[in-house]
Symmetry: C2
DNA sequence: TATATACCTATTGACATGGTAGGTAATTAG
DNA sequence: CTAATTACCTACCATGTCAATAGGTATATA
């Protein structure tokens, strides 16, 4: 609806990460369990978990007793990487994308510094906050 | 392409506001001139200018010698209102939209505080910066 | 061997974005 | 009064992304 919204992919991904941090103990947690707890369709959740595994944030194990689990400790994930993995780069304008080709207007573009500052602000924000911070509700004051 | 991108509507709107601040002197500036300087299609620019007039950020005058001009001084516009007018609220999740109906998960939603903090951060950022700041390249250090 | 699980490919409907087309109303210059 | 200029209005369209679904395959364990 509105363009400043975080996609469900990124939001669900974060919820999944939280869910695993809280429920994995020493076991693999099957998709079905996560889906039930989080009230997310199993099929849709699959596509999200696939991304997280592919990006190395989770490990998947097939077969009976299989499921998913974190590859690191909660304090070693940043919110930024979870979001960027599922939703793409945080760049607010094409000129600031990782692979951006130089813009011809660049030198006399008065807006660019605004987007650069904004970009730096949100990147830094999401970079500083770890998964553990989210679970404990720790935010910079 | 990627979901963190500011829409062209908001970006063009900002460029138009800058353009007018720099070129209006005491006259009304016709759409055609702005479109030419900014290299934006006239037809598309129309839809953006309509929004800005409707929102009270610009005045339009018809007929020969007509065009558009700012309704206030550049230092009296915030970037936030320009963006929100053209792109909608800055809320990153539905729960934080102005007219949001209460979410049943709200009380045990660990993510919500994250989005609230993020929302406050960017709202404050865009709120503090005026059109004049953009023109002069003044940003908080 | 049966069951549980992750993993893979493809498809769909809905919607927003970015942009276009053509016409109407108002104002001024001559 | 007429012609030119300009904003304003309604409608349309093509593309792409999002959110979600469907059905099948590979792998591990009990």
């Amino acid at each position: 609806m509105v363009h400043f919204m975080i996609s469900t992919k990124a939001r669900y991904a974060l919820r999944v990460m939280i869910d695993l941090a809280q429920n994995q103990e020493n076991n693999y947690v099957p998709l079905k369990e996560i889906a039930k707890r989080q009230e997310i369709s199993e099929k849709y959740l699959e596509t999200i978990l696939k991304l997280l595994v592919k990006g190395g944030l989770l490990t998947g194990l097939r077969g009976k007793g299989g499921g998913y689990r974190l590859t690191r400790l909660p304090q070693d994930y940043t919110v930024r990487e979870i979001i960027e993995l599922t939703e793409g780069p945080l760049a607010p304008v094409a000129c600031l994308l990782p692979d951006a080709s130089p813009c011809c207007r660049k030198d006399n573009c008065l807006s660019l510094p605004l987007w650069e500052n904004y970009h730096a602000l949100i990147t830094d924000f999401f970079n500083r906050i770890t998964l553990l911070d989210v679970i404990h509700g720790n935010y910079p004051s």
